[in-house]
């Protein structure tokens, strides 16, 4: 059962389109996770890489050991963004999510309302856009 803990987009027009893309990409994430379980190759990385390319966007995925999924949608025209930069963005997201989990005032499963998490995401989006 997948439900969003946190979702944010910029620019904010056409937000629903981004929400829809993230939702459909979850199927691809689930495919990759189950493929990982059966793989004979020692492929157990958390970073899932490019999930699927569309004409306008590239979608990247990352899954934690606790099966929390991070999905990132980036404009295709942004060719300057390289793989290791995407990886480091996911690592930052993972670290901030872990901090949220360790906050005693946070109830696991709730929507994330931490301001610290918000400002980390904002600064990351500003750097890219």
């Amino acid at each position: 059962m997948n439900y969003p803990l946190y979702i944010r987009s910029a620019p904010t027009e056409n937000e629903l389109k981004f929400h829809y893309m993230v939702h459909t990409s979850l199927d691809v994430v689930d495919e990759k996770i189950s493929a990982m379980g059966k793989a004979l190759v020692d492929q157990r990385e958390l970073y899932l890489g490019l999930l699927y390319p569309t004409e306008d966007y590239k979608v990247y995925g990352y899954v934690t050991n606790s099966k929390v999924k991070f999905v990132m949608v980036v404009d295709s025209s942004n060719t300057a963004l390289r793989d290791n930069e995407i990886r480091s963005m996911f690592r930052k997201l993972h670290n901030s999510y872990t901090d949220v989990m360790c906050n005693p005032f946070y109830n696991p499963g709730d929507r994330i309302q931490s301001r610290a998490f918000d400002s980390m995401v904002t600064s990351m989006m500003i750097q890219v856009c």
């Binding site: 990982m36 379980g37 157990r44 990385e45 958390l46 899954v63 934690t64 050991n65 606790s66 099966k67 993972h94 670290n95 999510y97 872990t98 989990m101 360790c102 005693p104 696991p108």
Partner: protein
């Protein structure tokens, strides 16, 4: 080194604090206690309060351990690769979790390969200062409740629903039994 002592003292105080209220409940109390007061006579009441109170304190301790376990389940495996199967998760509990919290590894892990695991610690740090042998055996459960919750919480974050119980035959050796709940 000081970190280990800090957690041990905190844990001791948690148990002591939760048990301090069991001797004399007083005229107040929850609606449940008021109702029971009316049903049962005086002689039966004290022991009933004691049993109820103890059950509640044990579940409070277990609940605290559970929340801490949930957070540790997110923080500790952060840099490690994805777990391939259930046994890997249990090994993670015995090595990484135990070292992070108790600065030692679990001494043995056994399984029936059908969802039940027994984790044995031959010198459990929370019991080791108490006794060495059968003394204080009745007191041991309260010092294990938090840790049972800790195991259950970590398993829960890693996607495994379980039931964790602990048993002591002779301090400071204790066994944690983890039974995986199939949904």
């Amino acid at each position: 080194m000081a970190d280990a002592a800090l957690f041990e003292f905190l844990h001791m105080e948690m148990v002591a604090e939760l048990w301090a209220h069991h001797s004399d409940p007083g005229p107040g109390g929850t609606p449940l206690l008021t109702l029971l007061r009316q049903i049962f006579s005086r002689e039966h009441r004290t022991s009933l309060y004691a049993v109820l109170g103890q059950k509640m304190s044990l579940s409070v301790l277990e609940g605290m351990g559970f929340r801490v376990g949930q957070a540790l389940g997110e923080r500790l495996p952060q840099e490690t690769l994805a777990f391939r199967e259930e046994l890997d998760v249990l090994k993670f509990l015995c090595k990484d979790l135990w070292v992070a919290v108790f600065h030692k590894q679990m001494d043995s892990l056994r399984t029936n390969h059908q969802g039940t695991y027994v984790l044995q610690d031959n010198s459990f740090p929370l019991l080791i200062r108490m006794a060495s042998g059968p003394q204080y055996l009745e007191e041991a459960p309260k010092f294990l409740a938090f840790t049972c919750g800790l195991l259950r919480g970590t398993l829960s974050t890693l996607g495994i629903k379980s039931l964790v119980t602990a048993s002591v035959a002779s301090l400071p050796t204790c066994k944690f039994q983890v039974v995986i709940q199939k949904t």
